[in-house]
Point group: C2
Chain length 387, copies 2
DNA sequence: TTTCCCGTTGTAAACGCTTACATCCCGGTG
DNA sequence: CACCGGGATGTAAGCGTTTACAACGGGAAA
């Protein structure tokens, strides 16, 4: 390994001078600079990152924790894929400019409940700040990490105490697409393909459904099934739905994400059910394949890339100024109208979703939760399964 | 920041003892161990990664360079997305077991010709080994890196001198799908949607096309267009193709990857051209959306995850034993028959592709190149455009 | 000539951890 | 009783950089 000393020796100067040349900030005589530069080139010297970090007391590394949900075997359509990819692009854009680096850690969702502490701990010793890719990690672990380095949770419940939260406005987006279904297409009998119970995003979307329905008594939630965000789970939900409602299909199926909507579409196609004629289907996320489907999927776009960008910007700010206290940032979504909702074939409309005041809905949810944890949706959803 | 010294002081022992407890290998009296463990817990101590790396002379970090090709604005379907995602999973699987970390760097394809040296250099100072995500980086830069740390190129030209190469057997896979088109479906008049000139993968696939055609005089390459692996470029190629061959469509379109095949399909759909009745279309990669298309795409699966795994295993081996010399590893592909090639609707067949001896083809290519850089395919492909 | 100043360069002390080696303490041997 | 062996622990020397501070040297000013 070539060190600063080797360069210094070859150039006939001290290590301090070499360091100065390498960083090109302090004044060094031109002739010296040239001599040193040549020595560096000749030896192929590259500073050792570990030593620099140690000395500077700064690693210039951001850690990112990606949570992978469990995936049934052979379900290639791993849920997180498209999501993290986009988020990553956003993060990268900022990281790159500052010449920082990105250290990635994947965790299995199963680990998250009782996560492999040691992995997260050791991560916190290697980075200057942490981005948690999804609000899956339990609060108390987040606090533990946040005691050491700034932590920003992406797509988490707006309610962490120790960490910043950057999330898409799932509530308003979901409300928008459901409202569209009801008000613009007159679909009244809805079916819900819900996300996993521990996903904050799914939680907000579920809340929105309840909220919209509460204000529209003429509408009805005819059933609900909980999936795990994967295509396969959506397909199963679709099949189950068909079995349950053979005679009278619901008028629309609201899926908590696009992957599950894809699965539902697949189940319907297999059963010869026509979408949107017999039943409309909508998703959430606007992942890339959604526009390729038949029919193209109506969904809600959440700015995943921007999510990454904002989260990264935030963590960098916190690192630069540790006195900053944690904050919440909610990013607006877009309604993406294609034809699976009932809009005419060929429709491609994107419209910004205006942010709803969610206090009311939250409060209602709160009340319900206090009323002994018996959310309407869940209750309805479970009964038919038992019957 | 809590250091080893703080813990040592609190526990009333020396730093050496604390270190021993932390790593749990050397013998420490049970009572001491407990005291130290308590102190660690109480202070929330986590070892500093930089200091550890410096002292151990090992960072336990693998660097991965992802090359992003230029993407037309608004072409969301960024080419690399699905590819890297899968590769990453493979890499991660190994990394995780060893408790190493993964440092990711993205580079724009434009940078790669004359890459931002400083970024790659600085990367090499922060990691123990480097994985280059695609064979885009010029050999001389690879050599420069390889002088410092082991380097493994994924999907590179089997021919690097300084670095290992792990790649899918693009040649055999591509030959297999084209042979299927010709021998099983009797398609003779082929059209080629080629990949970017600087992609090694595209190169191997192109070579296979030439190779198969050379052995089947009754077949003809009626044209070729170069795309950049993106959906949009495939769509443009499709439109161009239609314009050129309005009267007599080719019988099959061979695309250098799935994204471009998706684009071609899209162009055909827009023009009302029926696939595979009027013209067959095949891709390469078997990315996730390909099975969702209408008609589902016949393509070649390359084991991207395994690619990542093997590459990672290799770099770890090289780090463990630096005396190892660079090697090449070619992974087998699978032919994925769906219906865009002319197989009946509903077909889903995967069959392993046997590895072809490519020496002959390489040699022929070599000869051609020497014969003044006038490859048959290119010549044919360009003429119609000029005419 | 002496004194000062300032641009340039060198010296050496961190940074937090690992680990070779030294030390200490004890019970067991000869 | 002196000595030995070995387990437990401490001491301190690195690891490769950065950087505060000191030192130097050569004009300019007095």
């Amino acid at each position: 390994m070539v060190t600063l000393y080797d360069v210094a020796r070859l150039a006939g100067v001290s290590t301090a001078t070499v360091s100065r040349v390498v960083h090109g900030q302090d004044r060094v005589r031109e002739s010296t600079r040239i001599r040193v530069t040549q020595a560096i080139e000749e030896l192929g010297y590259v500073p050792d990152g570990a030593a620099q970090s140690l000395s500077r007391r700064r690693k210039d590394i951001i850690g990112m924790v990606c949570v992978e949900r469990e995936v049934e075997q052979y379900d290639i359509e791993n849920v997180g894929l498209l999501y993290y990819d986009e988020v990553l692009r956003g993060v990268e854009a900022l990281i790159r400019n500052n010449n920082w680096s990105l250290l990635i850690t994947f965790m299995q969702a199963e680990d998250v409940g009782e996560p492999d502490f040691r992995r997260l701990d050791s991560l916190s010793g290697k980075v200057d700040g942490i981005l948690i890719g999804e609000g899956f990690v339990a609060s108390r672990y987040i606090e533990r990490l946040a005691a050491r380095v700034p932590v920003v949770v992406i797509a988490g419940t707006p309610g962490e105490r120790a960490a910043d939260v950057v999330a898409a406005d799932n509530f308003s987006g979901s409300a928008a697409v459901i409202t569209h279904l009801i008000d613009d297409h007159g679909r009244r009998r809805l079916f819900h393909v819900d996300g996993p119970p521990n996903s904050p995003d799914a939680g907000r979307r579920r809340l929105a459904l309840e909220y919209v329905l509460r204000n529209r008594p003429q509408c009805e939630l005819v059933g609900s099934i909980q999936g795990i965000f994967s295509v396969r789970s959506g397909e199963q939900a679709g099949e189950e739905l068909l079995a349950r409602h053979r005679g009278a299909l619901p008028e629309a199926v609201v899926c908590a994400n696009d992957q599950m909507a894809i699965g539902v579409l697949r189940a319907f196609a297999a059963a010869g059910v026509r979408v949107p004629d017999e039943v409309a289907v909508v998703g959430f996320d606007d992942i890339y394949p959604s526009s390729l489907l038949d029919p193209p999927l109506t969904t809600v776009y959440q700015p995943m890339r921007v999510l990454g960008e904002r989260a990264c910007a935030r963590v960098l700010d916190r690192i630069a100024d540790p006195s900053l206290s944690p904050a919440i940032e909610l990013l607006p979504t877009e309604l993406v109208l294609r034809s699976s909702c009932g809009c005419p074939p060929g429709t491609v409309v994107r419209q910004p979703v205006t942010t709803l005041d969610q206090a009311g809905a939250d409060q209602a949810a709160q009340g319900r939760a206090e009323a002994r944890q018996n959310p309407v949706v869940r209750a309805r959803s479970r009964q038919p399964a038992k019957a």
